[in-house]
């Protein structure tokens, strides 16, 4: 038998890349970065003003001048989709960060302290979970009034529970772990053990979850805007655009379709990144 490897080294590396999810994560990241670039450079990329109306040009089908067509006010859909990326990316990111921070903190402390404080936190979470997600959000937004700011507040108030439960269950396991005992045997205080040693080890799951959660938040934002409580017209936002185009779905399909596709691709970007990262981290541990 010769000692020549059966598979060429470069192919081996390629396969390895496929298996451990790096490629999946790279694709997701690529999609997200593409949208980010579009959002950042919107003023230079978008061919038309996203809110300038021109009734002479209303409901034009896709053509070379307007690749995505125009809506009932004669606004260029392509430009509105590009400008909308600014709002929707912000929506997904900010809508995840606050629940993540609040939920992680409450979940970590609750799991570590245990006892009555833990039961109290868990009951609060049960109450929040007892309501359907969207109903609770709409109720909070109805009180605060429509707008992006109240969407973020409602997201933070409702969304933290999933993070809290995730982190708590991890901390419950980790606080009995042997390296926690070793940390105690070195005379470390509770705060140091929890936040410097246990929490970093508990974060993997929630980081992966936060990326798939970004998809849900994005769809939520679109749904809330669709219902008229989120982003207000004439600002370009994909959910609102779908809602506005609904009346013309039989005569001008392009009004709903292109912002809808934008939502799908951005959501796919987050999903792929989440799957890829989960695989890479899963392989490592």
């Amino acid at each position: 038998m010769s000692s020549r490897p059966l598979i060429a080294p470069w192919r081996l590396r390629l396969r390895f890349g496929f298996r451990n999810g790096r490629l999946t994560a790279a694709w997701g990241l690529l999609i997200l970065l593409a949208w980010l670039a579009l959002a950042l450079f919107a003023p230079w990329i978008a061919p038309f003003d996203p809110i300038a109306q021109n009734t002479d040009m209303s409901l034009l089908a896709p053509s070379l001048a307007h690749p995505f067509g125009t809506d009932n006010y004669g606004r260029d859909i392509l430009s509105r989709v590009i400008w909308g990326a600014r709002i929707d990316l912000q929506l997904a990111v900010v809508g995840v960060i606050f629940p993540f921070i609040i939920g992680t903190f409450i979940g970590a402390v609750s799991g570590y302290v245990g006892g009555r404080f833990d039961s109290f936190c868990m009951r609060v979470i049960d109450v929040v979970l007892a309501f359907p997600f969207l109903v609770l959000m709409l109720a909070i937004m109805a009180i605060l009034g429509p707008g992006l700011k109240s969407f973020y507040i409602a997201m933070a108030l409702v969304g933290w529970v999933s993070y809290a439960r995730l982190i708590r269950s991890q901390i419950l396991v980790l606080k009995e772990s042997e390296f926690a005992l070793a940390a105690k045997s070195l005379g470390f205080g509770h705060g140091r053990i929890l936040f410097r040693h246990l929490l970093p080890n508990a974060l993997f799951g929630s980081i992966v979850f936060s990326m798939s959660d970004a998809v849900l938040v994005l769809l939520n934002g679109a749904a809330v805007s669709y219902l008229g409580l989120g982003v207000q017209p004439p600002t370009a936002e994909w959910g609102t655009m779908v809602a506005e185009g609904q009346a013309f779905i039989t005569t001008a399909w392009w009004i709903c379709t292109f912002p809808g596709l934008a939502i799908v691709t951005l959501a796919m970007g987050f999903s792929l990144l989440a799957d890829g990262v989960a695989q890479v981290l899963g392989d490592r541990s």
Partner: protein, 318 residues
Amino acid sequence: MSLLQVRDLSVIANNGGRDVTLVDRVSFDLAEGEILGLVGESGSGKTMACRGLIRLLPSANLRVQGTAVSLAGQDLLQLDDAGMRAVRGGQLGMIFQNPGSHLDPLMRIGEQIAEGIRLHQGASKKDARLQAIEVLRQVGIPDPKARVDNYPHEFSGGMRQRAMIAVALGCNPKVLIADEPTTALDVTVQAQILRLLLDLRDQRGLSIIMITHDLGVVAQTCDAIAVMYAGRLCEHGSKYELLAHPQHPYTAGLIDCQPAHSSGHALLRTIPGQPPLLDALPDGCRFHPRCPQAGTLCAEVLPQGARVACHYPLGERP
């Protein structure tokens, strides 16, 4: 006066309103630079006694009682939680059986060592790092300057054990509790680690309590031996006396169980019977149901004795 004096240390579990004594009035002394081997079979309370000593009991249902546990003149039983935290690590270090899971997997080795140094000695970040490299060098990690930035998963089993010893030593403790430090390692690495502990004793005057069930380890390293059975200390003495002329029948039985001592026999020798359950202890001596020379007194009176807790000790020492 000895560095560490333990007097009547008990660990008691509250089991649904009923108290079960897991460690019963254990007393021993540890001098500076002395290595004491705490020997006994699984469940005899040797680990629990040391966990009680450093007050890191695994459950809130457990509590410590005792007359005194004085370390360098300070009674640990009188300390509150904050006081105990200052003693842990700084004066009383502990290393464990399974080095892989006792290191934080997400923190660089150097940071883990430096963290204790900064906390207990108030060193700056830069100084702590230099000290961490120095400690790594002392425990025999090759190329410590590069290795200080490795993660635990980049170390082999023996190196992790060295790293864990380095983490404990970084805080500069006077007494090191080593809970079966070599059980998870293969024989050659085990010998290296024991050698390392002996070197550290010689260089730093470190006192070590070595928890083990391996009499071979004890014979190689310890100065004194304490044998535990069912939560009680049954014999305590210098290594040579105790291994050559055991006085407690249980100690004699343990030594007899060593494969080397029964080479001419077809079967390994064992002590007949099982250790008693701690919530259903026999009256009198706890070993008497299994003891080959139990007398009438043994079933009635619990033997006391600092050196040998037995009514009918085997042959007087020469």
